[in-house]
């Protein structure tokens, strides 16, 4: 019961303060998720890190989802998983990113771990991160054209550096 109260309190604390930028929240079996506006991501992340009650000091994961076949607007969603080593609670923050303007503020100045995660999202999905120190491909090679994990990239299309183009 105390566990239940503790986990709900993260959402309570931020929904009071950021009412105009939080679009939706849900809480399922101990997982809290909050969907926010793209423009205000920096403010909410700074608050999540610096607030002494919440104290999210680790960015566990930063990834993206492509809802192309579900015809959802906006097409991409960038998902952040945060964890607090001190308070031992987690939260998932999602932001909707549109196809025509795939630029998001970089989280590198807040959590340095975001560096390579954002490079992977750029490489695989094509979402740019403003003010990232070194935004270049990390998994694919520089001559590769396109972003492979987008749903409209053909699965079998290879771009070999050497050898036959099958």
């Amino acid at each position: 019961m105390a566990q239940h109260l503790k986990t709900m309190s993260v959402l309570d604390r931020i929904s009071g303060k950021f009412q105009n930028i939080i679009l939706e929240t849900h809480f399922f079996r101990g997982d809290e998720t909050v969907l926010v506006r793209k423009e205000a991501i920096r403010d909410i992340m700074n608050f999540l890190k610096s607030d002494p009650e919440l104290d999210f000091n680790i960015l566990m994961d930063l990834t993206a989802v492509d809802y192309f076949w579900m015809f959802k607007k906006p097409r991409f969603e960038v998902v952040y998983h945060l964890y607090s080593l001190v308070k031992k609670h987690r939260i998932r923050v999602k932001i909707g990113v549109d196809d025509r303007e795939p630029i998001v503020d970089s989280m590198v100045s807040i959590w340095p771990a975001a560096d390579w995660y954002e490079r992977e999202v750029w490489d695989m999905f094509g979402i740019q991160f403003a003010a990232h120190p070194n935004l270049k491909r990390i998994l694919m090679y520089e001559e590769f054209v396109g972003h492979p994990l987008r749903k409209d990239y053909p699965v079998n299309k290879r771009q070999p550096l050497i050898g036959p183009k099958n």
Partner: protein
């Protein structure tokens, strides 16, 4: 074998072939899961040393068998070709595991569909990963090939 070969040179051929097949210096180019199977072949239970191939040399200049173990991606392919080019004659290539034989279960943007698209291969050892006994069988086939080729 016929015609221009005399008795002495064919015996010399066999002797050089015998020497070469029982002193294989391999370059285990290990990238993925097949590497564990390679390690188990090289260690005590299924010993690769009893076939003379027990000393891996991690330099292309010093080895004669390039064992490509594990999946090769398109990013890695030019590096592998370069390693192959740096080896001196006589050299042989063993494709270890299905990822190197034909691409394995992968059919995507990143994997080379078989290393024989970029270099000539002598022995293919299929399996995901191949059993150590399979690997030893492949090695013996390679030795047979080395014995019977023109030295």
């Amino acid at each position: 074998m016929f015609g221009s070969e005399s008795f002495l040179t064919s015996k010399l051929n066999d002797m050089v072939g015998w020497a070469r097949k029982f002193s294989l210096f391999q370059y285990p180019f290990v990238t993925a899961c097949c590497g564990l199977e390679y390690m188990s072949v090289a260690c005590a239970d299924h010993d690769i040393d009893r076939f003379g191939a027990g000393l891996p040399r991690f330099s292309p200049r010093q080895s004669d068998v390039l064992m490509v173990v594990g999946t090769i991606s398109h990013k890695m392919a030019p590096v592998l070709k370069r390693i192959y080019d740096q080896m001196c004659e006589p050299k042989w290539v063993v494709a270890f595991g299905v990822c190197t034989c034909t691409g394995g279960f992968y059919d995507n943007y990143a994997t080379v569909m078989g290393i024989d698209t970029i270099m000539p291969v002598d022995v293919y050892i299929p399996g995901c990963p191949p059993r150590p006994e399979n690997v030893l069988d492949g090695l013996m086939k390679l030795q047979e090939k080395i014995q019977h080729q023109q030295q």
